[in-house]
């Protein structure tokens, strides 16, 4: 995958940053079976990993089974330019979503700020051989040398993975696209930018339906923007979108063509005791995910993750503090722009554990049944293959244990923003800047770490 800063051996730090900037991973996504893992980076590239299948029996004991290796790499988006507005369009991949598999080929959607593309990933392991008019290298044969006719046959060849763009959904958005979500109907998907949500049909690229538009008539009246959107996993008519004010709106497309009016709105009244200059910023929801069951919603704002029950609008049913110790440091986090970081959150396969990222290469997991949280670290130095993931702790007072990290020694440049959880097993993929960590939970209570 990418290279890390230490190995470049370049003294000029600016050059090192330049080299690795494009390798910073910006999205991670498993496909529906978990066999494929796609990552997108700031340079517009997509790298697909495939899980090696171990056909032998005792796969767990062999240890090396289930490793993810690079399957394919391709350039999804290129830097673009909007001539009308004199704006550069970044090639950074904002989101990747896999389509449900229908045949041997795999399809995924990738998007940058403006354009969504549908890619077909297919394998080719056979090629025809024995042409009459061409020789093995493809050169045209001299017709006089052809004495007999034969039928070309398919011969096995080295596996080749081909990735081809099948659709380009362009010009649908004026603002920056932040989310895409494939509908359970398998035919449509939505794309959300700051002010609008469009619904597309996967086969139609020159038209999309606008289903949410929160742009005010007078832009000076703008008070909130859309930050994330997702379709319900089972109900093809329901979707949710989150706003910068910390509200969630559930919309039913059966109600009207334009879903500006929500069916349900989920918001928690602000705690007046915690009011500060930055209250609005930290209440902005950076990610929203439906549970696999479709019953709950998981949201991430700057300091917490919350679980909401679709049946209860007045507040979340569970709130977990991710890094409450940062509340007193919001001003300095505002200065260094960290307060604007958009962390993602994920459910595990059974909806019993939720996970989200933090700083200092830490990420947090919360067990919903016990309500307890644990801090883990995705850092090369402390992770070797087959190593057990140690739990970490940030020292916030009380008795200081060995290994505790003080709040002031947290490295805010090492942030875990993007992550994914395997749909069926306890395998997680964590993106730490330009490194991808894959952690697997074995039958034995050990965590294996593979780092790519």
């Amino acid at each position: 995958m990418g290279e890390d800063g230490e190995s470049t051996k370049i003294n000029h730090s600016f050059l090192r940053d330049y080299v690795t900037e494009a390798d910073v991973i910006s999205t991670v996504e498993f496909n529906q079976t978990g066999d494929l893992l796609a990552t997108g980076d700031k340079g517009g590239r997509v790298v697909i990993f495939q899980r090696e299948t171990e056909s032998k029996g005792e796969s767990e004991e062999l240890g090396e089974s289930g490793e993810y290796n690079v399957y394919s790499t391709f350039q999804s988006h290129e830097p673009d330019f909007d001539y009308l507005k004199s704006l550069e369009i970044e090639e950074k991949i904002n989101k990747i979503r896999w389509l449900p598999q229908q045949d041997a080929a795999h399809f995924l959607l990738s998007t940058n700020d403006k354009t969504i593309k549908l890619w077909k990933v297919s394998e080719r392991d056979k090629r025809p051989e024995g042409y009459n008019l061409k020789d093995e290298e493809g050169r045209i044969k001299d017709i006089s040398t052809v004495t007999s006719l034969r039928v070309p046959v398919l011969k096995p060849t080295d596996l080749m993975v081909e990735v081809r763009p099948r659709r380009v959904f362009a010009n649908g958005h004026t603002y920056h696209v932040n989310s895409i979500s494939v509908n359970s109907d398998g035919e449509t998907y939505l794309s959300a930018d700051d002010l609008r949500i469009n619904m597309w049909h996967l086969d139609i690229t020159d038209r999309s339906f606008n289903i949410v538009d929160i742009k005010p008539a007078n832009m000076e009246d703008l008070t909130e923007v859309i930050t994330a959107a997702e379709f319900h996993p089972q109900h093809c008519h329901l979707f949710v979108y989150s706003s910068s004010k910390g509200t969630l709106r559930l919309c039913d497309m059966r109600e009207s063509a334009l879903c500006d009016r929500h069916s349900k709105i989920f918001e928690e009244p602000e705690d007046p005791g915690n009011r500060s200059f930055f209250s609005e910023i930290i209440s902005s929801v950076s990610d929203v995910k439906f549970s696999h069951s479709g019953r709950y919603l998981l949201t991430r704002d700057y300091l917490t993750v919350k679980v909401w029950d679709l049946h209860m609008e007045k507040g979340p049913v569970e709130t977990y503090q991710v890094h409450e110790y940062l509340r007193s440091r919001l001003c300095s986090l505002y200065e260094n722009d960290c307060i604007f970081d958009k962390f993602e959150c994920v459910w595990n396969s059974t909806d019993s554990v939720i996970m989200t990222g933090a700083y200092n290469s830490f990420f947090r997991m919360f067990d919903r049944e016990t309500g307890r949280g644990v801090t883990l670290e995705a850092w090369r130095e402390s992770s070797k293959p087959r190593a057990v993931l140690r739990t970490r702790r940030v020292y916030t007072g009380g008795r200081r244990r060995r290994g505790d990290v003080g709040v002031d020694s947290l490295d805010f440049t090492k942030k875990i923003l993007h992550m994914a959880w395997h749909p069926a097993e306890n395998i997680i993929a964590i993106a730490a800047t330009n490194n991808l960590y894959i952690f697997q939970d074995r039958v034995k209570p050990e965590n294996q770490c593979e780092e790519t």
Binding site: D82, K85, E88, H176, P216, E220, L222, I281, C331, D337
Partner: protein, 270 residues
Amino acid sequence: MEYKVEAHRIMSISLGKIYNSRVQRGGIKLHKNLLVSLVLRSARQVYLSDYYSGACLNAQSEREGNEWDITDSEREKFPPSTTECDRVESPEEPQLTEQPEASEKEREYRENDAEKSERVDCTSTSEQESNQNSSLDSVSTETTTESPSDTTVAERDSTPVVVNGESHQPPKTHVCSSNRKRSAEESESGDAPQKRTKVASSNTKEDEEEAEEMDTGNVSNLITIFGSSFSGLLSKDGTKPEAEAEESGQICCDQMLKNLNPWSTAIVAF
């Protein structure tokens, strides 16, 4: 008083962020700038609440017709206390070159850029205004006379302004916050929150002229001089992405503004 210093600092940081976002790759990010503007507004409210605890709130609740009067009376309470204020008041172009001699690296860094954009902005706004609003003819005329040499530069920039299909017409011009011009601009502004911010902005200006004496950093100078255009900045919060080209046309075409520190005017231009 610490919270006031804090609020002041947060305001200057916010302004810096808004300015920086103009040059960031990928265009202006609406979400981030909206959040920054909210912080800016909160900080400003806190900052102002101390000086004008009663008066300011009353002023903010006033609607059309009254706000500017109050503004003027507020100004009387706080006579110009520094040379900054004098510079702000007098419409002399040479001021432009004097002020940039700030010790702050940022200012110098942005000086050329800001200066140019500021001139460009003023002129292009004037061009637009003359097309769209007759009530502001006085404004545009003044501007045009002040910067006759900028037409060539302005033309380059005014084209995207005109072409941009998203431009809203009258609200752009209300950015101008000169005291003289406010009555003309009143007709532009649509809703109460804008007016509130405009009143507060004038207060901010006075306020920060006072604050300037207390503060030691140059940053306060920026805010002080900038103060008169505060309203424009805040009300432009939402127009960021589509108004990228537009904003250059929205800069206050005020005489006073043209003489402001190019650093602060560049922020206003945003």
